[in-house]
Amino acid sequence: MENQGFKNKVKRIYYGLTLFFGLLLILSGGLVYKMVDPSFLTFPNEVETETYVDVVGFDNIENGIHLETGFKDDEGLQTVIVNCTSCHSAKLVTQNRANKEGWISIIRWMQETQNLWDLGTNEVVIVNYLAKNYGIEEKGRRDNLENVEWYDLKN
């Protein structure tokens, strides 16, 4: 029975340690986050009653747009996110327009001068996605004025 008592002791120490390290992990996690965001756990004067159920998830798509990045949802989206938003914003992609050849030359430029890695078999996926979704739109030498917000001007 001495053996059983010893076992219990070990179990108790084991649970105690588990609890201790578990709490330590939570505490250190909280502290690390406090370093990242100093406003964490600094309670504002007003009590916030809002709840945030309808949050934007990392991979939510709405009306064909990946909400987190603004990319169009299409084949190759995830490959594009992982390879193209590491160094720069997705906005730098979505505001540009080029055909396949143009996108390849941009990729080459980034590989030669900006430390972009070899994309391997992902390159064709990425280029196809970009040329299809962010291809060249034909326009003239001067566009019409568009999206004008009309308002009454009071002199």
């Binding site: 939570i26 996690g29 909280g30 914003s89 505001q95 430390n115 002199n155």
Partner: protein
């Protein structure tokens, strides 16, 4: 905002498990990858910018104004565009900030503390126009890669500092000096410490101009961090990329500076005109120096509706790089007839000039008010997008606003 709270709340509950998840995923994440969800989403607070400014890019930060936001005679920080090539430097230690002047064309390199710079040399203040070389890029066809600036990558703030000329004279430069190149504290997006995001400069003649400053104040206060705190080279009238931010070293070169973004095709245009879309060899690309003549209608905002019989009062600014603007005109009939605007002299060389006019409309309907500046050499803004170039620089086409008379 909701995102941050979401993350915060999630962390509150399951900090440990999230950190665990982070470690697991990091092995399959590319080097230096920052999960998109952890970026600060509010540049307006971060940089004290007006909510109507347009964020073109958040890594690196590139933010532009709209024409009507630039109505002030002196551009306040909240309406000043941001063009960054790399990451904004962190933890700037002003007390230990030093400026080194070195290069092939100095006899002995010399180092100044910020305090020494401010007290040793006479301080000067100028209002200086800074326009991004790629302002207007969005209109080129075929499109050019890069930030798709529309009209708002221009500012004219008041800069206070010491003349680069005075500092270079104090160091002593050799006769063979042809260029200066700046080195700054911003860091490369890839995280590679060996890479400079940008290191441009100007020919020695421009460096020695009275208005070329090593500035430590903007609009009477410390320069905002995003605009180069604590020390910025300001070379008005040239592509704003020549006005390096967060400067800690200036090299006086015996050749054209060869830093990052000095080489083709960056900030260069074809030496000879080319057809839209034409391939241009690097050797045939020439460095942009003075910016071309340009103007903006800053009041009213496009979309104004007035009643028949009412006059429309317009105003704005005009600038011409190294030159002065000589004349300003407007047209309400797509350039068929032009009418003179009143235009003021610049407050100093390289500052933009203010124009205004009162316009009567012949009948009800839709109009566009087009503005056109002409520099002292008689060169005017084109109504169409000017000569296509591979990188989409120097679009100085006339600005216009839509107006309805009811």
């Amino acid at each position: 905002m909701k995102r941050r709270k979401f993350i915060r709340n999630t962390f509150l509950g399951t900090a440990a498990s999230l950190i665990g998840a982070d470690i697991v995923f990091s092995s399959s994440m590319p080097k230096n990858y920052t999960p998109i969800g952890l970026k600060d989403p509010d540049p307006y607070t971060l940089f004290n910018k007006d909510k109507d400014m347009t964020v073109l890019n958040d890594k690196p930060w590139n933010i532009e104004a709209k024409a009507h936001l630039l109505d002030d005679k002196i551009t306040p920080n909240k309406y000043m565009f941001i063009r960054n090539n790399g990451n904004i430097p962190q933890n700037i230690d002003v007390a230990h900030w030093k400026l080194i002047i070195d290069g092939e064309s100095v006899s002995t390199p010399k180092t100044y503390t910020l305090q020494a710079l401010k007290s040793k040399f006479k301080n000067h203040t100028y209002q200086l126009t800074l326009e991004c070389g790629g302002n207007g890029r969005s209109e080129f066809n075929p499109p050019a890669k890069g930030n798709q600036w529309t009209v708002g990558a221009v500012s004219c703030a008041v800069w206070t500092g010491v003349r680069l000329k005075d500092v270079l004279e104090d160091v002593g430069i050799k006769d063979d000096a042809v260029y200066i190149g700046y080195h700054a504290a911003d860091t490369h997006l890839s995280g590679d410490p060996e890479k400079e995001p940008i290191s441009r400069g100007v020919p020695i003649e421009k460096a020695l101009q009275e208005e070329t400053l090593l500035a430590f104040k903007m609009n009477g206060r410390d320069i905002p961090l995003a605009h180069g705190y604590p020390l910025r080279l300001v070379a008005g009238g040239w592509p704003a990329s020549a006005s390096g931010k967060w400067i800690h070293r200036i090299s006086v070169r015996d050749k054209v500076h060869d830093g990052t973004k000095m080489k083709a095709p960056a900030y260069r245009v074809p030496c000879k005109p080319v057809a839209p879309g034409e391939k241009v060899k690097d050797a045939d690309m020439c460095i942009i120096e003075s910016m071309p003549v340009k103007s903006l209608i800053t009041y009213p905002r496009s979309g104004a509706m007035i009643s028949q019989g009412e006059k429309l009062h317009i105003r704005g600014h005009a600038w011409a790089g190294e030159l002065e603007v000589q004349a300003m005109a407007y047209s309400i009939d797509f350039g068929a007839t032009w009418h003179t605007c009143r235009i003021e002299k610049p407050i100093n060389r390289l500052a933009w000039q203010h124009f205004n006019a009162s316009i009567a409309f012949p009948k009800k309907g839709y109009y566009e008010v087009w503005a056109r500046a002409t520099d002292v050499d008689g060169v005017s803004q084109p109504m169409l997008v000017p000569g296509w170039n591979p990188k989409g620089y120097l679009n100085n086409a006339c600005h216009r606003i839509a107006v309805k008379v009811k």
